[in-house]
Symmetry: C2
Subunit: 273 residues, 2 copies
């Protein structure tokens, strides 16, 4: 008669595994000797090897019993099932490999290549790194919500950044990214933004109407902007004085505002569902 460690070593498994199989009901508990030790016969070795053979072939322990008892057809069906699971797991890892290599290639997480290209273009033009990070985070949010619309928006953004007047305006916004709310340059900047919007109002409105974004996302993006840009609240106030409201989706102020940027009460961010 064999002790548990002899049994285990004959079958090439650990003692712990044998006990585990007992606990799972895969291997019958043998009789005990007078001191309570398990004592096995040769048949137990054969059974344990059969269990291991299945387990080593990727059969989950929960199905081992079924397969040990199965005849040809059931066995084949179960094997087909397990093989399908294995293929699924392989495909999953392969997708993971693709994704992770893309992450390693791009310099920024969770962004499509077009967006990374846009951020690089901003660097080319000498935008401040802080502002680029704010942009990056905005696009992470957008890509997470409406990934299919990102290319269209990126096309607009690329056009905008190549537009000299607009680019200078952006650059100047970037220069004030860390300024205090009472910075004297803010009102002048607000004037320029308002002037530009007046000049390009029709054009901008048309572009924005093309792809409507949900209010939720706009509110989230505005909130992100305000949080990472200390004097943003002040700038938005100045713009409101000049008849414009919002930032992500800036538009002429209407008589009654339905939501406000920087609103921290939660009203501006209803459940997106």
């Amino acid at each position: 008669m064999l002790t548990i460690s002899q049994l285990a070593s004959y079958a090439g498994v650990t003692v712990r595994a044998v006990r585990h199989y007992h606990a799972k009901g895969l291997l019958a508990e043998p009789k005990r000797d007078r001191s309570g030790y398990r004592r096995y016969d040769a048949a137990a070795v054969v059974e344990l090897i059969r269990i291991r053979t299945l387990a080593d072939a990727g059969v989950p322990l929960s199905r081992v019993r079924e397969l040990l008892a199965a005849g040809g057809e059931e066995f084949a069906a179960a094997v087909a099932d397990i093989d399908q699971r294995l293929r699924g797991e392989i495909r999953e890892r392969q997708r993971h490999r693709e994704r992770i290599s893309q992450l390693a290639a791009g310099d920024s997480l969770a962004l499509p290549p077009v967006a990374v290209a846009y951020l690089d273009r901003m660097r080319d033009f000498g935008f401040r790194e802080r502002l680029i990070e704010i942009e990056r985070d905005s696009w992470i949010l957008i890509a997470a919500q409406i990934p299919e619309q990102v290319p269209a928006f990126m096309a607009i953004k690329h056009a905008q950044i190549e537009h000299e007047t607009l680019r200078r305006l952006y650059l100047d916004v970037g220069d004030l990214v860390d300024c205090a709310p009472d910075d004297p340059r803010l009102p002048a900047l607000a004037d320029r933004v308002a002037d530009f919007l007046e000049a390009a109002a029709a054009e901008a409105a048309a572009a924005e109407e093309q792809q409507p974004i949900s209010d939720d996302l706009i509110a989230l993006l505005d909130a992100a902007f305000v949080q990472s840009f200390p004097c943003a609240t002040r700038l938005l106030e100045l713009l409101e004085e000049r008849g414009w409201t919002g930032w992500t989706n800036i538009r002429r102020k209407e008589p009654e505002a339905r939501w406000r940027i920087g609103d921290r009460t939660g009203k501006g961010l209803p459940d997106p569902h």
Copy 2:
């Protein structure tokens, strides 16, 4: 400010996952409102999306923090590491697929094709199914211990089974597989076995010396034989009377026997290590 479910749905994860990331220290706990509810800002959404992006690429959570903080080089190194792990997991599943398909092809678990062929040959010759099962179990044990020697032994067995006199002897052993220990045919069978051994002694000894098997394995195989063959003990006794000892490795009885077949005291099966 966002509630946890709003945060979760913006990032496309479950509330439970968010709390799990808090518990793991991946996502900073936000401030609470007066009722103890977590309140998030837009930056938390970005951070959560970054975490999900990594997790969705197969990065284990335990490494996510490291990768979020990593610069280009460290990131690349970590990615290479993770990719290697993924490849290993893929290879493992592929091996599993191979093994399991082999199991589905062969009619018996844990046996190499040569052994399956031998068992089929036994069926051709009309051996009893019980005896075939005993053979199968023996070969499972052998294949588990010394897989590399199985083909050599199988060659011997194939030769033996094609040898008519020997085959008839085996067949008659098989016919007595379920007999009682006092069956009158047993002594006659023992005589025939002894006679055959006398005649083929030199030959058999030479064949067995070729590939020595460990005493442990021989004892295990003999024990398996005795357990599944009720009158085996009696048959072995009769053979001992005729000057032969053992079964798996049957040989002339020596003046002092170092181990005995069917010995249930454990002495015959020392730790194989």
